[in-house]
């Protein structure tokens, strides 16, 4: 139960985020967004903006420097007059003050040639296509046996379609960069991101630099949830602006602009067909996914991939179809794929339990498997059943009356629901160094990121254990691209990936220590690429079970989550205190997904209509009542030296299904389109 090592800095306001670094003679950038849904910039009238005192530069496609090619088209800032979606950045202004920059951006007069944008995702869109792969490297489609026939011949069948809306990550700290070109031609970026090494490599390519000429500094990051996992236009804009005016430039994407330019989770349409025998043993699983990407880049959310992992069934098929729309590019958002996919699968499992007259926990137990169903690989460990059993005990599931819509407290309808969780245990290659200092302390360096995950604290614990040192003797330094190259804080692979490199560096250092440390210190380094390549073949995944109790106002359709419990099996938990926060944080986001989060596409003009935190609701303190997370002890020798799986995302997976299943239990109404709002519930009351 270790307190967050940077806790004191964070509660005293001393922890510095990207916008907050002092810079001599700093200027401010403001961005202009396209006000048409598709088309081209025809003319930019800069006169009024440039006449404003204190305006230093205007940048747009005609005068912007040519950038190097990178795979993400969203980073090709101001490289052409093309407008691919409403809200795309088309120009930037640099001014002496924030107020001046923003006013100049408003005064920039831009004319467009305009085309009608195609922005609506539908399952019969003529542009739907099968992507070559879904993220990161999974096949778009899989099939085993005769799923159609097997489904048709099953005794108990569920054939349902769920939709999830676009959802925005909305970290509290906007995407921010302070860019500074140094006299020697190098570039320093104070930047809000989930991986300094990634930003360094990408920015170097864009600006034609050697990676060593770019330094990215990001010790504290105000949340990301995937949206800072790859560089976003803010870093390009700030670097370009700083070069144009020859001064340091700061740019934080205003909240309204984040809704178009910093990524979001694609909306999905998912048809689920589950066929089972009378005892609930699955015979056929068919999971078909329809989702969107942009015309700027392909982003193929791996929505059906958890269905390849979860339950046994001899006949099965999964598929993904994408359509390129004139919309902002969807991108990474916490547990991409698993979050929308498990919402649909675990809601359908609840419907199957009801159709078969079997308890939903029992149904899942009956379809448990010790081999990954599609790959046939053995699981390195799989404790889904233990999570379900432990959770049932703690939550008080026994004796639950499955009848929906029959429990009332005054005008409130009460119900409970359960859903399973899963997330892959990734372990990306990393490098790290460990130093013994002459004063008896140790310094460990790796370009990892702590975006609120507790990574700094976990790595300190891991290093201290490997060094057999006390915690206060160990200093872990992260968030700087000048440290050894690290993977991003993503895929719940941070602790496993970074931690392994830290352990190996510390072990190497211990091998060098014999008595005294020389005045210049001793340093050892590690690179885990080879070790990871040589790993045995296993299916490695974390699992969990989520339980929710809801009350639904019978008159208004307002849903409130009274109690929520998550039980997880995620390998060894390095720091219970911060791990619990991670699980609960994910579950809280799941409450938002279930009940309020929805980005609404403007069908007429393009772009997302709700673009602030009053219109896009994330859960507030009052939405989160009795919530808790715990875990079952799991010892898995096939993972990594710590024995850990990832914990950053699984808390969100299945959470919305648990809430939705509880709403059905409370009301008898199955809302299959998230979020479950009064409008959607009242329709069926």
């Amino acid at each position: 139960m270790t307190d967050r090592v940077e806790g004191r800095e964070k509660v005293t306001g001393q922890a510095k985020y990207a916008f907050e670094y002092p810079a001599e003679d700093v200027a401010y950038a403001a961005a202009v967004q396209a006000s048409v849904g598709k088309g081209e910039v025809a003319a930019v009238d800069t006169e009024a903006a440039l006449r404003l005192p204190g305006v230093l530069a205007v940048l747009f496609w005609e005068n912007a420097p040519k950038l190097g090619e990178v795979s993400d088209g969203e980073l090709a800032l101001f490289q052409s007059p093309k407008v691919s979606y409403r809200g795309q950045f088309v120009a930037a202004v640099v001014g002496e003050t924030l107020e001046t920059a923003r006013e100049a951006a408003r005064l920039l007069h831009i004319e467009y040639t305009e085309e009608t944008p195609d922005v609506r995702l539908r399952a019969d869109h003529p542009g739907l296509y099968k992507p070559a792969k879904v993220n990161p490297v999974f096949p778009a489609d899989t099939e085993q046996g005769e799923p159609e026939d097997a489904f048709r011949d099953s005794a108990v069948r569920v054939d349902v379609t769920y939709t999830t809306p676009a959802e925005h990550n909305n970290p509290m700290e906007p995407h921010t960069t302070l860019a500074q070109w140094n006299d020697d031609g190098t570039l320093t970026l104070y930047d809000s991101n989930q991986g300094a090494s990634t930003v360094q490599a990408t920015v170097a390519k864009l600006f034609g630099l050697d990676p060593a000429q770019v330094r990215v500094v990001s010790p504290h990051v105000g949340g990301g949830f995937g949206s800072k996992g790859t560089p976003r236009p803010n870093v390009v804009l700030a670097a370009m602006a700083a070069r144009a005016v020859g001064r340091p430039v700061k740019f934080a994407v205003p909240r309204q602009q984040m809704f178009a330019t910093t990524g979001y989770r694609t909306p999905t349409i998912q048809r689920l067909r589950l066929g089972a025998d009378e005892d609930g043993r699955l015979n056929a699983i068919v999971h078909e996914v329809f989702e969107q990407t942009s015309t700027v880049r392909e982003f193929a959310e791996q929505t059906a991939t958890p269905t390849r992992v979860m339950y046994q069934a001899p006949h099965r098929r999964t598929s993904h179809r994408l359509v390129r729309l004139d919309v902002p590019s969807p991108s990474w958002m916490r547990a991409p794929g698993e979050t929308p996919g498990m919402y649909a699968l675990e809601s359908a499992m609840d419907e199957l339990a009801i159709a078969a007259g079997i308890d939903p926990i029992e149904l899942r137990v009956r379809n448990d498997t010790d081999r990954e169903p599609e790959s046939g690989l053995p699981f390195s460990s799989r404790n889904l059943v233990a999570c379900l059993r432990e959770g049932a005990d703690r939550f008080g599931w026994a004796g639950r009356d499955p009848a929906p819509g029959v429990r009332r407290e005054g005008r409130k309808l009460i119900g409970t629901g359960v859903a399973a969780s899963t997330y892959p245990a990734y372990m990306p290659p990393n490098k790290a160094t460990a130093r013994a200092e002459p004063d008896g302390t140790f310094t460990v360096r790796i370009a990892a990121a702590d975006i609120g995950t507790g990574a700094r604290t976990a790595l300190t614990l891991i290093a201290a254990e490997a060094l057999k040192a006390d915690l206060d003797q160990v200093r872990v330094e992260i968030g700087d691209s000048s440290f050894p190259k690290a993977s991003v804080a993503g895929g719940s692979g941070g602790t496993a990936g970074w931690g392994t490199a830290v352990v190996r560096a510390c072990e190497a250092l211990r091998g060098m220590l014999n008595g005294s440390v020389p005045p210049e210190g001793l340093e050892a380094s590690a690179d885990t690429a080879e070790e990871i390549r040589a790993r045995e073949k296993y299916a490695r995944h974390a699992f969990g079970a989520q339980f929710a109790e809801v009350e639904v106002d019978a008159d208004t359709g307002e849903v409130r989550v009274r109690r929520m419990l998550g039980v997880f099996a995620a390998g060894r938990i390095i720091n219970p205190k911060t791990a619990r926060s991670q699980f609960i944080g994910g579950m809280t986001m799941g409450i938002g997904m279930a009940l309020m989060e929805e980005s609404v596409m403007d069908a007429e003009f393009g772009g997302y209509l709700n673009r602030d935190l009053a219109q896009y609701h994330v859960p507030a303190c009052a939405d989160v009542r009795d919530i808790d997370a715990t875990w079952v002890e799991e010892s898995d020798p096939h993972l990594n030296p710590m024995g850990s799986k990832g914990i950053g995302e699984i808390g969100l997976v299945g959470a919305a299904a648990a809430v939705g299943n509880a709403v059905h239990h409370a009301t008898g109404v199955r809302v299959r389109d998230l979020p479950i709002t009064p409008a959607r519930l009242l329709d069926d009351f």
């Binding site: 967004q33 006000s35 107020e99 923003r102 006013e103 408003r106 309204q256 005008r411 008159d555 208004t556 359709g557 307002e558 409130r560 009940l595 309020m596 609404v600 403007d602 069908a603 007429e604 003009f605 209509l609 709700n610 673009r611 602030d612 009053a614 219109q615 609701h617 859960p619 507030a620 303190c621 009052a622 939405d623 979020p675 709002t677 009064p678 409008a679 009242l682 329709d683 009351f685």
Partner: protein, 326 residues
């Protein structure tokens, strides 16, 4: 944001004199500054009236209240006389915004806050309220939280205030200092329906300064109930402010106003008329609610508000009746 001059008014007369073309009065700024940053409001001059001596709440011997225009939302809700004599007013204020916003926001500013229609708030899109004659994309676009009553082809916006709904039910009056002198109007005549001038939220004339709100005594149990997706810190889908006086199973008097349904706080006069003298039963509450909802013209995606309002009226009146009867 366009540069603006800032002046602090020293008296009501001073405020009126400073208020010339392009000037806007500044109270707490919680909506005005927000809209200026969005480019929706572009005043050339702000005349700060938050420091005028309108920061008192006066309880008159007959139980009525005079609430100064510059009283903060927090101070209004915390005031003992308001909580005891007009609880639905305190509840309505507390249902709005957040603690820190209420500390800044003033009573007059709350009355004059503008719609949260997403098209109104995006200066790059058409909106008849922001840019007269440019069109109303909400009518055929996203309107799930917009008006079901009293809208016009030009505008389907709703008024966002909670406090104003309670004041409407209470039959409050608005004291206004104008260039032609002081006048007092019923709150029902302050906010207006959009008709073909949606750019005008209220009947105020240029330079008019709200100085106080007068609230008559109530003397019966009252309650404000707001429906929202998020449990707190969210605008209403719909809301109801209700007061009910029952005697021997019969409704003697009633006050009812609705929020989130129209361009103005909607006093449910028809329901009130139908209820006075009616039996205190769920059926009569429901019938009375249906009378008001008979004029509802829901849009494509907000028809859910009709049963929601009906249920909310019945529920709130039932709770008040039970309280009155106990």
């Amino acid at each position: 944001m366009r540069p603006f001059a800032y002046e602090r008014a020293t008296s009501v007369q001073d405020a009126l004199e400073r208020h010339s073309d392009g000037a806007v009065y500044l109270g707490g700024g919680t909506n005005l500054v927000d809209l200026m940053r969005l480019g929706v409001e572009e005043p050339a001059r702000l005349v700060d009236v938050a420091h005028l001596p309108h920061d008192q709440i006066e309880l008159r011997p007959d139980g009525s209240l005079v609430i100064g225009a510059a009283v903060s939302n927090s101070a209004l809700a915390a005031d003992r006389t308001v909580r005891e004599g007009h609880p639905m007013l305190a509840q309505a204020v507390l249902a709005g915004a957040s603690g820190q916003v209420r500390n800044l926001a003033t009573v007059a500013g709350n009355l004059l806050q503008r719609t949260r229609c997403p098209y109104f708030q995006d200066a790059s899109k058409p909106c008849n309220k922001r840019d007269p004659g440019s069109g109303c994309p909400a009518r055929e676009g996203e309107h799930h939280n917009l008006a079901i009553m009293g809208h016009s082809p030009e505008c389907v916006a709703t008024h966002p205030s909670d406090m104003a709904v309670a004041l409407a039910a209470l039959g409050a009056s608005i004291r206004i200092q104008g260039r032609a002198g002081e006048r007092t109007i019923p709150i029902d005549e302050l906010h207006r329906l959009p008709e073909n001038e949606p750019e005008r939220d209220t009947t105020l004339e240029p330079g008019d300064l709200i100085t106080a709100v007068e609230v008559p005594p109530l003397g019966m149990p009252s309650r404000y109930r707001k429906v929202r997706e998020r449990a707190s810190f969210a605008f209403a889908l719909v809301s109801v402010a209700a007061a009910l006086d029952v005697d021997d199973g019969v409704v003697r008097d009633v006050r009812l106003a609705l929020g989130g349904v129209a361009h103005k706080p909607w006093r449910a006069w028809h329901t009130e008329d139908a209820l006075r003298g009616a039996e205190m039963t769920g059926e009569s509450f429901q019938r009375a609610a249906e009378v008001e909802l008979g004029v509802a013209e829901p849009l494509r995606d907000n028809a859910y508000k009709v049963p929601l309002v009906r249920n909310l009226i019945v529920r709130t009146l039932t709770e008040l009746a039970e309280r009155g009867a106990s």
